[in-house]
């Protein structure tokens, strides 16, 4: 009655010709990517974030000065501009910076910095600078951009000890950018395990886990962080403190995620295609792995990407309050500590530049989260 076998070979080959740009053959992830690509804001945000992460990971390569080096002669120096045209109107294709001349204001006794137009230091690509170890493995002394020789270049100015803010901001981004990812990863593990159990098992387990989540959500976060952070032993190394803080952040962050996971598990457990699989005799674990988990992977990714900025802000807040990351480790929050006094704000506003990085990062994550949320349901 059915003469199919002979056709299958030819038919199996045919669709592959236009598989690449045919939505009919697109899998969930391809569809999601197609839709995400159309979200311009999210695409720009991802480009900026990728740049920030590259800057963070290779911070010592991009740094123009040694981040911990004190420059006693240049305390609280303002950002130095890059010039193409000098005072005499000569244009040079190669950008340069002027030297810094300091002066004391006779009235206020404050140091005033001015461009010393007699000294010009050209910027060069890959100059030799301070030596550093990349990833603790390779001894290098080349940097991305900078001035060679005697000149100094403080793109973001210096702090109250004369340390280069630009280099410090880059180094700080390592902790600030990754604490979000690691923190969310941890809370993802806790949240999806507890949420999945809660949704799939139901009953008493469900009640217990959900009430626990509600309890965690009901505690005001800052006092809770403060209490937990105060419990960290002061003898811990900076790495231990970093992971301690991440753990603290995820202890609070899992609750929301667990509710999302529980809700989706509950919904999908009752869905027709899960019942269909059950009626086929597919074993329970296989149903969870093959049908339930992939069905809300996209939702998880969205809530994770929206969770990261919260973590970054939380870390910044904790460090700003001096209960998070402690010097000599630097994060954006630690850098912002120096901008706590109104005087610092009015006289050296460049100390707030790390704050701009926080804002940009958080905005980028939110835009990406938005784009992902729109893209996550390609079947609508």
């Amino acid at each position: 009655m059915l003469t199919v076998a002979s056709d299958t070979e030819t038919l199996a080959i045919e669709p592959e010709a236009d598989i690449a740009n045919d939505d009919y053959f697109a899998s969930q992830w391809t569809l999601m990517w197609h839709k995400f690509r159309k979200h311009k804001l999210a695409m720009v945000a991802s480009a900026i974030l990728i740049m920030l992460y590259i800057l963070g990971i290779f911070s010592s390569f991009f740094a123009t000065n040694e981040p911990d080096q004190y420059h006693q002669d240049y305390v609280l120096a303002p950002p130095q501009g890059i010039h193409f045209v000098d005072t005499e109107g000569n244009f040079s294709l190669r950008p340069f910076v002027y030297g810094i001349a300091s002066d004391i204001d006779p009235d206020t006794w404050e140091t005033i910095y001015k461009d010393d137009t007699t000294q010009k230091y050209s910027l060069s690509l890959f100059p030799k600078g301070h030596s550093y170890k990349l990833f603790g493995l390779f001894n290098l002394d080349r940097h991305f951009i900078g001035v060679e020789g005697e000149g100094k270049w403080f793109l973001f100015g210096t702090d109250e000890f004369g340390r280069d803010m630009f280099s410090r901001t880059l180094v700080a981004s390592q902790i600030s950018l990754f604490i979000g990812i690691i923190g969310v990863f941890l809370s993802f593990l806790i949240g999806s395990t507890l949420g999945g159990l809660s949704g799939y098992l139901g009953g008493k387990v469900d009640i217990f886990i959900q009430r626990l989540a509600e309890f965690v959500l009901a505690i005001p976060t800052i006092p809770l962080w403060m209490a937990l952070a105060a419990a960290l032993p002061s003898t811990w190394s900076s790495t231990q403190v970093f992971f301690g803080i991440t753990l603290i952040l995820s202890m609070v962050g899992w609750a929301n995620l667990s509710r999302v996971v529980r809700g989706k598990t509950l919904e999908l457990r009752e869905s027709d295609f899960v019942l269909a699989a059950r009626l086929m005799g597919v074993p329970t674990m296989k149903i969870i792995v093959r049908h339930i988990l992939p069905s809300f992977a996209s939702y998880l990714i969205v809530s994770i990407s929206l969770g990261i900025p919260g973590m970054i802000l939380a870390e910044t807040a904790l460090s700003f309050l001096q209960i998070g990351i402690k010097p000599p480790s630097v994060s954006w929050g630690v850098l912002l500590q120096t901008a706590q006094s109104p005087r610092a704000l009015s006289e050296s506003p460049w100390l707030l530049i790390p704050g701009i990085f926080v804002v940009v990062t958080v905005l980028c994550y939110n835009f990406i989260g938005d784009g992902l949320r729109d893209a996550a349901d390609p079947y609508k």
Partner: protein
């Protein structure tokens, strides 16, 4: 029931006996918990190769019955005997493993063509899933079998690698049917299988189901709230009301001469294409709360033929002439109006 099995000379494929499904209803603080009787003592048989239509209003337990038979829901009591080869097995007594083995014999076609297919799997994966579950076949044989199934339900084989979102409702329903037929089941429960489709597509799917039955000798339990659809496809029709069967008869007989006032009411509600036909009786009244069914006949509050006996004594489903079963005290004396 006995007579019909003698007629065909075969043993029935499925014997359902006194099937019950009670849901506990939690009381409030001052209210004792009670029981909601979704299925209250259902008994019927299914002959091999026949189609039994199951009709009733929303919430009467049609879907629950279909799912209990497949043990998608655990029934509270009763017996479901399924003829597997030459011996009857009580589906309700099977352990997880032997139930899983028997699953290949009983499948289901769902109402919602969108929710019943995993949107993250290709058509090939969906249809192949029941085949690979017990790793019955694989490789080239599997591809051939899936292609054969797709042809069988009228889908082009070149759509094999597409995802469900690329198909219309009718095509998706065909995919669902192909999946249900993959393991060559004896029994297929069609739970409102065409209710979500356009009228023209409904007819196509109904005819497809009929053709497949003739070709493969499948037995259908066809659940629907649409009497015209049920009449088109069924050999026999069972009418359910509040978790009980109230009438069971040959399809034409039921339409011509219903024996239960509830069936009459349902039939009178079928819209007629003739504008001159005036409706004799509209469906009125509300279905009683299933958690608190009155002691007598559950239908008596809505029944225009009700007598005092109906309020106190519950009528049992009993055989009348021509294998016609009805649960009404006055079945013999009433002459009810059918539909043409």
């Amino acid at each position: 029931m006995e007579a019909s099995s003698q007629e065909t000379g075969n043993e029935p494929l499925l014997v359902v006996n006194d099937l019950k499904k009670y849901y506990p209803v939690n009381g409030g603080w001052f209210k004792p918990p009670s029981e909601l009787k979704a299925l209250d003592g259902i008994s019927f048989t299914l002959e091999r190769g026949e189609t039994l239509g199951l009709v009733g209003e929303s919430g009467c337990g049609k879907t629950t019955l279909g799912r209990c038979i497949l043990r998608a829901i655990e029934p509270s009591g009763g017996k479901i005997e399924f003829l597997n080869g030459r011996t009857y097995m009580d589906i309700l007594k099977l352990d997880t493993k032997s139930l899983r083995d028997l699953r290949a014999q009983m499948q289901m076609v769902f109402q919602d063509p969108y929710g019943s297919l995993d949107p993250r799997m290709t058509v090939f994966d969906i249809i192949a899933e029941p085949l690979t579950t017990k790793s019955r076949i694989s490789g080239k044989k599997l591809t051939e079998r899936v292609a054969e199934l797709m042809e069988m339900v009228g889908l082009e084989v070149k759509f094999l690698n597409r995802y469900p979102h690329a198909f219309s409702g009718g095509q998706r329903q065909r995919i669902g049917i192909a999946r249900a037929l993959a393991t060559n089941p004896e029994l297929v429960v069609c739970d409102e299988a065409v209710s979500a489709l356009d009228v023209s597509v409904q007819a196509q799917i109904l005819n497809l189901l009929k053709d497949l039955q003739q070709e493969l000798g499948i037995t259908y339990l066809f659940i629907s709230h649409n009497l015209s659809v049920v009449r088109h496809i069924s050999d026999r029709i069972a009418v359910m009301y509040l978790g009980r069967l109230v009438e069971l008869a040959e399809s034409d007989q039921m339409f011509e001469k219903p024996m239960h006032p509830y069936t009459e009411m349902l039939l009178s509600a079928i819209p007629s294409p003739d504008p001159d036909v005036k409706r004799q009786a509209a469906v009125d009244g509300e279905v009683p709360n299933p958690a608190n069914v009155p002691p007598g006949c559950a239908f008596c509050d809505r029944c225009k033929y009700a007598i005092p006996k109906c309020r106190t004594e519950r009528p049992e489903l009993r055989a009348l002439q021509n294998n016609h079963l009805a649960a009404c005290h006055r079945a013999e004396e009433l002459s009810l109006v059918g539909a043409v």
